[in-house]
Symmetry: C2
Subunit: 204 residues, 2 copies
Amino acid sequence: MPGHHPARSRRPTERKGDVRERAILDTCEALLAQKGHDAITVGDIAEGAGITRGALYFYFGSKQEVVTALVARTVEHLWERSRATAKTDEPRQAIAAAMQRTVELWNEHGPVMRTAIDLSLTVPEIGELWSHTADLFTEAITAVLERAGVQAGTEPDQASAMARALCWMIERTFYHASQEAREKLQKASSTCEHIWLTSAGLTA
Amino acid sequence: MPGHHPARSRRPTERKGDVRERAILDTCEALLAQKGHDAITVGDIAEGAGITRGALYFYFGSKQEVVTALVARTVEHLWERSRATAKTDEPRQAIAAAMQRTVELWNEHGPVMRTAIDLSLTVPEIGELWSHTADLFTEAITAVLERAGVQAGTEPDQASAMARALCWMIERTFYHASQEAREKLQKASSTCEHIWLTSAGLTA
DNA sequence: ATAAAAATCGACGTCGTGTAGAGTTTGAGG
DNA sequence: CCTCAAACTCTACACGACGTCGATTTTTAT
């Protein structure tokens, strides 16, 4: 995505364009916090970044490419943090940690996450990114369920299938909660955690 | 939504326009089964309905109004069927019946349901329709949970909040499943049912 | 049969997108 | 310091989709 001229990434000094590129993505993220992505015009983004429409098309081939790059940036951040989290073997701790991480991510990047979900069907690249993320999450949930004693397997009442459904539950619940007040995210998180625990057979 | 000329609904003979209006909605639904709503053009719909763009604007003020009307039609069908379902007091039966009904609805109108969800944020009218539907569903789930012994209340681990999360889980799971093969819906339904039962404390 | 209401059409103005080509700035090497 | 190519920026244009308008034809009621 970095301009049409490859091999610019590893330069000693930071090119002016790198700054612009970041400014474009930052502006886009800021705008997404205000209006829906289809209410945003390329002119808006360019203006916010301090350049003209024409100049923006030097960096990105289209509006979709801009938001795709933004989603990619955010999702990579998410993956990083996932890897950085210490793996605990104890199910209850693992669940609590995962939910806490999720709250933080949605607090920081709610609008981008929502946009990613909205566009994951219409923009294949974003769909790819997001479904991969969902897979990672689902695998993590599956592992916890199995460790807690749920039978492994893909049948409707076994770990894999249940993890999928729980993943969607969390996604959707946070999606809605992140549109409202900040404390809603905490409550939503608690509810999801409770259902997750119950599904794992770990009734408090 | 019936044209710009109100009070046409209750007429002895069916106006030509009523047929056209239905044709437009039917065409729109058919198209939604093929492409995403933003890949559909007003010209496409008009052509499918056998009229020109100009004529379509006699019936609906905009493309959004068309799809809003379509969603309204579908959602009303959904409400009707909900009311028609006999209320059982036995939680297990109630859950099974609700899920069965949901499978049928998504089988028949999957593309419209997905579109409604996609647009419920950007189109306020659709948002209204869908959130009302979700509320009905959530209330029903809440009732079942309480009858099964879950403590009533809105705290994160009480019936209302759990019902909300379960509602989103079902919505999202069906949303994804309905894009794939028909049998996926059945499996998805079984998984949701299992989690619902578990959350209600009704472990098989 | 006729006049009002309903329905249809083609042409037009607007807005947002993406492209093209011309011009300006930057910085590495002579 | 000069030069030249790459990096960057801009204005102008072409296109497609939307929604509007006024003229015209078809239906319907009486």
